[in-house]
Subunit: 162 residues, 2 copies
DNA sequence: TTTTTAATTGCAAGTTGTTTGCATTTATAA
DNA sequence: TTATAAATGCAAACAACTTGCAATTAAAAA
């Protein structure tokens, strides 16, 4: 599987540098969306000193995305999160503790078809983004006196007729 | 419909200021997701001089969101887009010209149930975000020599087994 | 209506996440 | 090995957004 990704890098004419291999490792070792800074901190810890500059990580992530190794995930946070692009799946995000659960079922093929049928401007869809938000069991328990760290749009109580 | 929103403002104990009314107008006059700067420019044009500061628009949007008048839309862009919160719907976004089409069908109730059934960490879902991406008809035609302005993750050609 | 009060605004300055320019380093092709 | 183009680190720039504070203003009280 890792060789799969290395193949992609080579195919794209990208050099097999240590930064890239380390970043790849950061993704493979943890199946969870990560942002540039997550990876930066992880590699700093792993490799001892500041082996890789944060700027390099940004550039690496961009090239990984263009190569199709990773893709962006919509977590409604204020930085960009990426994960390996090797399986199509979606997420539920806890709006209190920000923990993320993946689920493999997608089930919007029919919706996609219906959308296309009704659409005036489009006749094909290349991609979709589907994420769920809620409060996880753990946080529901603790919610008595916990403060919300982050809250996506329509989560607020006044939100009507959805 | 506008009075509905004004009611919300009053309910939330917010003053009925001209900035807020103008911003409300900016949303009502155009059924398309907008970011702070869109509204800023629109109001500048509309009201002549710099009637409202951009900072005020940011603050207004935040309070509108908390009040449930608007909600955020996930357009995979680098700024936050909002639209009126008065109907549950989703979007298809053209990844070339960024034009947006809305569609009212949702159809992921079943998926939501399935997800909850399988979920280990969650037992309820408060919200979901579902957007489609593709190249619109117009841009498909012109695509011979057009340059992509913006491209979300998995849209790139190398993206595999999705 | 006038006064009072607390919310709202504009301006300047700050923060955060991300990008760019450029000289130096490094993987790979020759 | 050497040559070469790509990749990196560092400093600086940027864009989107937030904050502090004094001045303004909507709405409550008088
Ligand atoms: Mn995932
Ligand atoms: Mn919409
Ligand atoms: Zn949680
Ligand atoms: Zn288009």
């Amino acid at each position: 599987m890792k060789s799969e990704q290395i193949k992609k890098l080579k195919n794209a004419g990208l050099k097999l540098t240590s930064s890239r291999l380390l970043t790849l490792g950061a993704f493979s070792s943890l199946c969870k969306p990560q942002n540039a800074d997550d990876i930066y901190k992880k590699l700093k810890k792993l490799t001892g000193k500041d082996k890789i500059d944060l700027v390099t990580i940004y550039r690496t992530l961009t090239s990984f995305e263009q190569t199709g190794i990773v893709k962006k995930v919509n977590l409604q946070k204020d930085s960009v999160y990426y994960e390996l692009a090797n399986s199509h799946h979606h997420h539920i995000v806890c709006t209190v503790c920000e923990s993320v659960e993946e689920f493999n079922l997608c089930g919007i093929e029919k919706t996609t078809k219906d959308v296309l049928k009704k659409s005036i401007k489009f006749n094909s869809i290349a991609q979709h983004s589907l994420e769920f938000f809620g409060v996880c069991k753990k946080c529901t328990k603790n919610e008595k006196r916990s403060v919300k760290k982050f809250s996506p749009s329509s989560l607020n109580p006044q939100c009507q007729r959805n």
